[in-house]
């Protein structure tokens, strides 16, 4: 009956997420949740390509940025609603991904990873230099459709749920087995008659489509993009990898867990514990706390980097992948204390 329990748990989580905005009226927390849900989509897409198909991408920002720019350019050049971007953004990302994959899937492992990185860089430079079309470094600014965060929240939630459903369906079907066989041993898969090039393309196209849609959502939600935000190597491509790794590579829910952890951790460092340390410092007037909160805010990216190193060093399979290991460690600690 584990399957039923699994479904119940999923529905419970989804219901809880759907109810949250009705209970929490704080815009700031909703903003964080929207970002986390967006990262669920991107992380899941990365995970499909890297975790399941074994083709590690260092350039997810290429698809994310394409989606975001599609939405933005529709507004400034043709006067369409940016919401069309949710439809066309995904398609444009696929249009970019298709020839890229067609050519670059001849490369393997680290070479492919570097090619994706190069794609990311090339697109960022194009978006910067082609000023007549993309407005270059000025970026694109549009009016958001809603002042309230609720509509965005539910759209992001729907997308996140959709991406997880898609990945579940794919991985349960015949396709999933082909993907896994490519990850485990490409040559063996090929020799057994799996058209590896075709299935790698398929995996890339699905991943690019999801990432592009997430990019379009970002444009709609944030209302402003420029090449260094949406084509950012560190803030998008590396973050996508971290979401996947922290949560658990090659697990369905890993990226979802990873997305929430990473967004919260990043924000915690940036705001020095959501501003609570600062508040505590003001309240108690302890000198140590004041300087601690200041240093933490100043070094937020440093803390983030150290976290990355520690996670890869001690939990290479992520929270979901190493869940058993984590539990054993916790239990050992408990029994150790009891003794």
């Amino acid at each position: 009956m584990t399957v039923n329990r699994g479904i119940v748990a999923q529905i419970a989580v989804l219901a809880a997420l759907a109810v949250i905005p009705l209970v929490v009226h704080n815009d700031y927390y909703l903003h964080l949740l929207i970002l986390a849900l967006m990262w669920v989509v991107i992380g899941s897409a990365w995970n499909l390509l890297a975790g399941y198909t074994g083709q590690v991408s260092f350039g997810d920002a290429a698809f994310f940025g394409t989606g975001a720019y599609t939405a933005g350019l529709l507004v400034i050049h043709w006067g369409w609603s940016a919401w069309w971007g949710l439809f066309f953004g995904g398609i444009m990302a696929v249009v970019i991904a298709f020839p890229f994959g067609w050519i670059c899937f001849r490369l393997r492992g680290a070479y492919f990873a570097l090619a994706t990185l190069a794609l990311n860089e090339v697109l960022r430079h194009v978006a910067t230099i082609w000023e007549s079309f993309t407005q270059g470094m000025v970026g694109i600014m549009i009016m958001q459709s809603y002042i309230s965060k609720l509509p965005y929240y539910y759209i992001a939630l729907a997308l996140a749920a959709l991406s997880i459903i898609i990945i579940r369906l794919v991985m349960r079907s015949r396709l999933g087995y082909y993907f896994l066989s490519i990850r485990e041993d490409q040559d063996a898969a090929e020799s057994l008659g799996v058209n590896t090039h075709f299935y790698k393309m398929l995996s890339l196209v699905i991943a690019a489509w999801l990432t592009g849609v997430a990019g379009a959502l970002y444009m709609n939600y944030m209302g402003f993009i420029d090449p260094h935000v949406v084509f950012s190597l560190h803030d998008i491509s590396i973050m996508a990898i971290l979401v996947g790794i922290v949560g658990g590579v090659g697990t369905t829910y890993g990226p979802a867990v990873g997305a929430f952890i990473m967004v919260l951790v990043q924000e915690m460092f940036r705001t020095a514990g959501f501003g609570y340390i600062k508040a505590a410092a003001k309240f108690t007037d302890v000198q140590f706390l004041i300087s601690a909160s200041e240093q933490l805010t100043k070094g937020h990216a440093l803390g983030f980097g150290i976290l990355v190193v520690l996670v890869i060093r001690y939990m290479p399979n992520g929270v979901v992948g190493d869940w058993g290991k984590l539990m054993i460690a916790l239990r050992l600690q408990k029994t150790g204390r009891a003794k």
């Binding site: 492992g109 090339v122 440093l302 890869i312 290479p316």
Partner: protein
């Protein structure tokens, strides 16, 4: 014609330093089989060391080579021993974990430097920073010419080390066939530390040499990491001779691109070459030079 020659000269001079950066990365690639995406960041740290020595103690950048190179060598040893090698033993789905670790290391190094020195642009302006001499109508930048000569010396010394010494032979043996090398009694773990150290030391030297002519800020590492792997791909991963060709080619391509296509294309050119080589000459110049 003068413009052409001038571009050629500045491209060659820059290419010499790029070659040193590329050799460092390609050595690590050859022995470890991974791409070190913290390579440019190591260079950035070395540049900050040089900058601090110059700003607070007035040490000439060329003298501070004696400090920055051993310091980054040690840093490289530490990273390899404590952070990268343990990952080899971990059971993971993705073999790329080590590469991701170098990304993390790069981030940490960048942020430490930003924490200490802030994001402001720094520069080391020595008396000879902008001095030039002329051969015919072609101007040569004095620091870049000295750098070029030092780069050649270092490359020659490295090749001597790799070909003549016992340790160098062990490094090459490990790169060629790790298991066979272990069977012949090579301590491959030790070789990995040393290689990572040497690769880092080379890029550290390049950083120190570049600083009289470059601005310095914490994010300078990223672009140089990208240049380094473009060079490696051009030369063929793991090939030191190829890296020299790759470095010079990239230097020339950037110089000609900047002169004839426009400054803003300088960064794209490297990447376009990178994609073209991956497509049409996978394996890089190694396929032609066979070394």
């Amino acid at each position: 014609m003068d413009l052409f020659l001038q571009t050629l000269v500045s491209g060659l001079l820059k290419g010499g330093l790029y070659a040193v950066i590329g050799i460092g990365m390609t050595l690590i690639m050859g022995v470890m089989g991974i791409i070190n995406l913290a390579h440019g960041q190591m260079m950035m740290v070395s540049m900050y060391i040089t900058y601090s020595l110059f700003a607070y103690a007035g040490v000439d950048p060329y003298v501070s080579l004696l400090v920055s190179v051993p310091a980054i060598f040690t840093l490289g040893l530490f990273i390899q021993q404590r952070l990268l090698n343990p990952l080899l033993r971990a059971e993971t789905i993705l073999p790329e974990n080590q590469v991701l670790m170098t990304v993390g290391v790069g981030m940490v190094l960048t942020e430490i430097m930003r924490f200490i020195f802030t994001s402001d642009y720094k520069s080391v302006r020595t008396s000879y920073s902008s001095s030039t001499f002329f051969v015919g109508n072609i101007s040569f930048s004095v620091p870049l010419t000295i750098d070029f000569l030092i780069a050649i010396l270092m490359t020659a010394a490295l090749f001597l080390f790799l070909i003549k010494t016992d340790l160098g032979r062990s490094v090459r043996a490990t790169a060629q066939d790790k298991e066979a090398a272990v069977l012949m009694g090579v301590d491959s773990e030790r070789i990995t530390y040393i290689t990572f150290g040497i690769g880092s030391a080379l890029v550290a030297a390049a950083g120190t040499l570049l600083i009289p002519v470059f601005y310095l800020y914490p994010d300078i590492g990223g672009p140089f990491t990208r240049k380094a792997f473009v060079i490696c791909i051009l030369g063929g991963l793991g090939s030191a001779v190829g890296a020299i060709f790759g470095g010079v080619t990239l230097g020339l391509a950037e110089a000609f691109g900047a002169t004839y296509a426009g400054m803003e294309f300088e960064d794209i050119i490297g990447l376009v070459i990178f994609l073209l080589v991956l497509l049409f000459l996978p394996g890089g110049f190694k396929r032609i030079t066979k070394v």
